[in-house]
Structure formats: C-alpha cells, structure tokens
C-alpha cells in the first residue's frame, strides 16, 4: 500500500507548511475538547470525591449511574443530545445544534462519568481511615476534602488525562450534533472520517497524525504535572 507512505509525506508537508485549513481544524479540536475536558473535570472530580468520602442516601444509585455513564455508547449520547437540541426538541429554542457548544455538551456527557469514576477510584485507593485521621487532626470537612484530593493527585491526574483523551477521540456523537460544518464544527476526528469517505486517504492520514501529535502534547504536559507531584515537594 503506497497510501501510507504518501499519506505520511502529505501529512508532514501540511504540518510544516502550517496549512491554514488544517490549523483551523486542529485549533477548533483543542478548543472544543479542551473545554469539554475542563468541564468534565470540574464536574467529575468533586463528584468522585463526594462518592468516595460521604455516606448519603442514594449514594449507591449515584455510583451505579456513573458506572452506566462510563459504559454508555457514545453514539447513543450523540443521539440523545440531538433529540434534545433539535428545533422541535425540548431545548430547540436554544439553537445549539450544529454549533461547537453542542459538541462540548456531548463530549462532557461522555467524558464526565469517566473522570468521576476514576477520581472515585483514586480517592478510594487511599487508606480508608485517612478521612477519619484528617478529621481527627482538626480538619473541617472541606479541609479534609482538599487534602485528600492533594494526596490522590496522581490518580486524579490520570482521570483528567483519560477525560481529555475520551473527549478528543469522539467521532460519532461529535458528527451527529455538530454536523461536521467546515470552519465551524469540523474537528480532527470528523475531518478524518470525511476525507476517508471521499477517498482522500493522504489527507485523512495527515489529520490522523496531527490528532496523535495533539493528544500526545496535551498528555505530555499533564504527565509532567503528575510526575512533579511525585517528588513530594509543594
């Protein structure tokens, strides 16, 4: 297959020339998935923490709900969000369909349960008496939570990395609610699918390669943060 060789060559050429169309798609990918990952973390980490440290009625149900969310097929999420955002759907008046915001919503719904579940694991893997010990040292509930999060930093950063990875890899849902509109909602994943469908394999490979590079860079930054925490200085 000569495609791979040609594809790689084309990809490198586009990257080096900083082709504006390609850059635009890459930047949009970073914006949409970065924002979705951020929101997922803001929602998911406190949720995972609360599930790990608090006992309250309905906790079991909420844990199951999060686990279901993790296993939910993303394409179903895309369908659900579409149904909500269609003109004649319940949220149709907000006119969010076929905008980047719709994609952010879908990606959050897909990534947040993963972040919550992994955060839960990270906190739960600490000694189970640690919350008690922190309270015994005079911490308020809030202070104890902050300390637990700090102590579970390694696991929590893994949760963030997983959340971002999930958000940025999403294709089906992003396509369904975004419409893959040129310059507006076309991101690296949907652009790759588009070019494959057209038979432009070289361009598809270059998008794929750029996506890999992008994900690698973000994960590398987060990993540096994670490992910095390991040295125990703060």
């Amino acid at each position: 297959m000569t495609y791979i060789g040609q594809g790689l060559g084309e990809a490198v050429r586009l990257l080096l020339q900083l082709d504006p169309a390609v850059l635009k798609v890459a930047w949009l990918t970073l914006q949409v998935s970065g924002l979705a990952a951020l929101i997922s973390v803001v929602l998911g980490v406190p949720l995972g923490c609360a599930l790990a440290t608090r006992r309250f009625r309905g906790r079991g149900a909420l844990v199951s709900f999060v686990n279901v969310g993790m296993g939910m097929p993303p394409v179903v999420v895309g369908l659900l969000v579409s149904l909500l955002l269609w003109r004649y759907g319940p949220l149709g008046d907000w006119q969010l369909l076929y905008t980047p915001w719709a994609m952010v919503i879908a990606q959050v719904l897909i990534a947040a349960p993963i972040v919550a579940s992994l955060s839960f694991s990270a906190i739960v893997s600490l000694d189970e008496r640690l919350p008690l010990q922190l309270l015994a040292l005079g911490a308020s509930r809030l202070q104890a939570d902050r300390l637990l999060i700090k102590e579970a930093k390694l696991g929590l950063l893994a949760a963030v990395i997983a959340g971002f990875g999930r958000a940025v890899s999403e294709v089906g849902a992003s396509m369904m609610v975004g419409g893959n509109l040129k310059d507006e909602t076309r991101v690296l994943t949907t652009a790759t699918v588009l070019e494959v469908g057209k038979g432009n394999y070289e361009l598809a490979i270059s998008f794929g390669l750029i996506l890999l590079v992008l994900v690698y860079l973000v994960v590398a930054v987060l990993t540096v943060l994670q490992q910095a925490g390991k040295r125990g200085c703060s």
Binding site: D127, R129, A136, G138
Partner: protein, 357 residues
C-alpha cells in the same frame, strides 16, 4: 465545679442496621486517665471516635467540657492517635505542622510549636525526612508529636503501640504517661493488653459487643469481675462453674471437684456461681507452698513454656485446669501429679451489671 471533660448520654452508634455501640452513660473528669479494654469488635475504636466527635451518633449526645454546640471547635481540642499513623506525603516537619495549619496557625509561631513537639519525642534529627522512610517506632513518635503539637486537652489513643515490639512499647508508654500527667490531659487508652491498660489508667472501662460490661478501678475489676467476659479479659486462667454438693458442705468445682465450702471466700450464692483463679493458684507436686486444698490427682495434658515458668494444662478428675509450673521443675506430658488449690486466690464472677451503669 469543673465541667466534666467527657459525658456520653444514651449514645448509640449504628453501622447500617447493626448497633455497634450503645453507651447509656459515661462520665470522665478532666485530667482522668481511662483505659478501654475488650475483645476484638467490642467497639473500642468506635467509642473513641464517638468521644472525639468523629462520627455521627444515631441517638444520644456527646458533650465535651459541658458543651456540644460547635463540633468542629470541640473536635479541635482533642487529638486521636491511631495504631498506624496515617500521614500525608511529605516530611516529618510538614506532617507535624499540619494540625496547626488546619487551625490557621502558620509561620514562626507554628514553627516554634513544631520544634517543641519534635523535641519532646527526640525527632529533631528526622525533621526533614519523608515520613515514608521511617521505621515503625519512629513513625509512632511522629504520630504522637503530631497529636500533641496543638496542646490538646483530650487525648484519644487507639492501640497506639500495638505494632511495636515490647521494649519500644514499654518505653514509649512510660514517656507518654509522664507527659499526660505533667500536662493534666484527659486521656483514653484502648489496649488489647490488660497489663498495659492496668498500668496506665486509674479507671478501666470494659467493653463487649458495644456495651460497657464493667467499669471501675483496677482492684474492683480484678477483684469482682462481673461476668466471664470480664474475667477472661482481666486474665484469669481458670473459670469454672460451681455447684453445691448434696451434703451442703462441699462445693463441686467444675461440677466435679469437691472442695470444702468453708474454704471458699463468701461461699456459694445464687449470683456467685462461677469462680475464677489464676494459674498461680494451682500448685502441683508433693509439697504445696501455702494453705491449700487438695484436689486429687491430675494428668498433665500439655506444657506451654514461658519466661515466668510454664503453664501446665491438667486434667484433674475430669476438669480442665491450668497451673503454673515453677522453672526448674521437670514434668512430662502424660505424667501424674498431685494438684493443690490456694483457695484464698479464688474470686467469684458476679452476675449482673454492677459498676457498669
């Protein structure tokens, strides 16, 4: 009249459907040292956590220093020391400083207190070391330093020395007891080892299955154990049910061994049917050392060696007894030997709940 340091009233702690702790009343004065003793699962740790306002109570009230309005503030006047110190990633100094920073105390004033606490337990040279790299004994010292750095008024010690070897344990316990007395702290010690508890505290609280079965001074608890559980906890080796023989002058130990009723303290009564005595009270050999009753001949079943002499398990007339064998005396399993009982060493186990409420 100073408010009592700790008061529990009608306190019940539940885990799911089960009640794990039910204390009707417990009152401890300021400066008292209390030992909490009981078998595994008795609820000792739960009791300490309840006193320290660290868990929600399903019923009842816990008052510290007569107050109960601001749990956080009251909690901050206590300190809990667990069996294995749980620390956050960081150096010894950082961990000891944590309770202070939680209370908003930082900077030079905090550094001074941290230094004092470290000095108290000879940890100055370890201040910068990561906690993870300390030995068990050193970690417990840091644990104690961390507990005392905030000058708590109530100290809760949950088997703090269980994972240390005997000499380290004894040493630290003595140090700690001295500090507690010097500062006039109210202290609770949970221990598996009755001797430790007895040495440490003026008052002993015995817990079994979430309830207080007896509390009192050492003499009270040892002299008048209220039930078998307490007697076992206190360390009596032999516990035998007794009945009155047909002639009304002989008591049958273990329902089999006859002993003159007159030789027993207090005589047999409805609420005193179980007698308890230590292995020292049972003598074997030809010449008993002091006033004894003869129990007849016994067969040696098993010999368990120890530093104070071996414990010999005997079968005497169908009743299992434990005797102490003085070092130097040789005996083989299966040997037959006369058995004597120092009746003065007998104690009755009282039925009922005397001293517990």
């Amino acid at each position: 009249m100073m408010a009592k340091a700790v008061e529990l009233a009608g306190v019940r702690v539940a885990r799911g459907e089960r009640t794990v702790l039910a204390v009707e009343a417990l009152a401890v004065e300021q400066g008292e040292m209390v030992a909490v003793v009981g078998p595994n699962g008795a609820g000792k740790s739960t009791l300490l956590a309840a006193i320290g306002l660290l868990l929600p109570v399903a019923a009842g009230q816990v008052r510290l220093f007569g107050e109960h309005d601001d749990p956080l503030a009251l909690r901050r006047r206590c300190a809990l020391v667990l069996q294995d110190g749980l620390f956050l990633t960081g150096s010894v100094r950082q961990n000891v400083a944590l309770p202070l920073s939680l209370r908003g105390l930082r900077g030079a004033a905090a550094a001074r207190k941290v230094g004092q606490a470290l000095e108290l337990f000879n940890l100055g040279h370890l201040a910068a070391r990561p906690v993870q790299r300390l030995s068990g004994g050193e970690r417990q010292r840091v644990n104690l330093a961390r507990a005392l750095v905030t000058d708590p008024e109530i100290l809760l010690l949950d088997e703090p020395f269980s994972s240390l070897d005997k000499s380290a344990r004894t040493h630290l316990l003595q140090e700690l007891a001295a500090i507690i007395r010097q500062r006039g702290l109210t202290a609770f010690l949970v221990s598996h080892h009755f001797e430790e508890a007895a040495w440490f505290a003026e008052r002993i609280v015995m817990l079994a299955e979430g309830r207080i079965v007896q509390q009192g001074t050492l003499a009270e608890v040892v002299g008048q154990p209220l039930n078998e559980a307490v007697a076992r906890l206190v360390g009596y080796d032999n516990l035998l049910a007794c009945t009155l023989a047909a002639d009304k002058k002989t008591v049958l130990l273990g329902d089999k061994l006859p002993v003159a009723a007159a030789a027993l303290p207090d005589g047999l009564a409805a609420d005193r049917r179980i007698c308890a005595f230590g292995a020292e009270a049972v003598q074997i050999g030809l010449l008993p050392s002091s006033a004894c009753c003869a129990l007849g001949e016994g067969v040696v079943k098993k010999i368990v060696p120890g530093i104070h002499g071996a414990i010999v398990q005997l079968d005497c007339g169908g009743v299992g007894l434990k005797a102490r064998l003085s070092s130097g005396t040789r005996l083989d399993e299966g040997a037959k030997t006369p058995v004597w009982l120092q009746s003065g060493a007998l104690r009755w186990v009282y039925g009922g709940t005397k001293g517990a409420e």
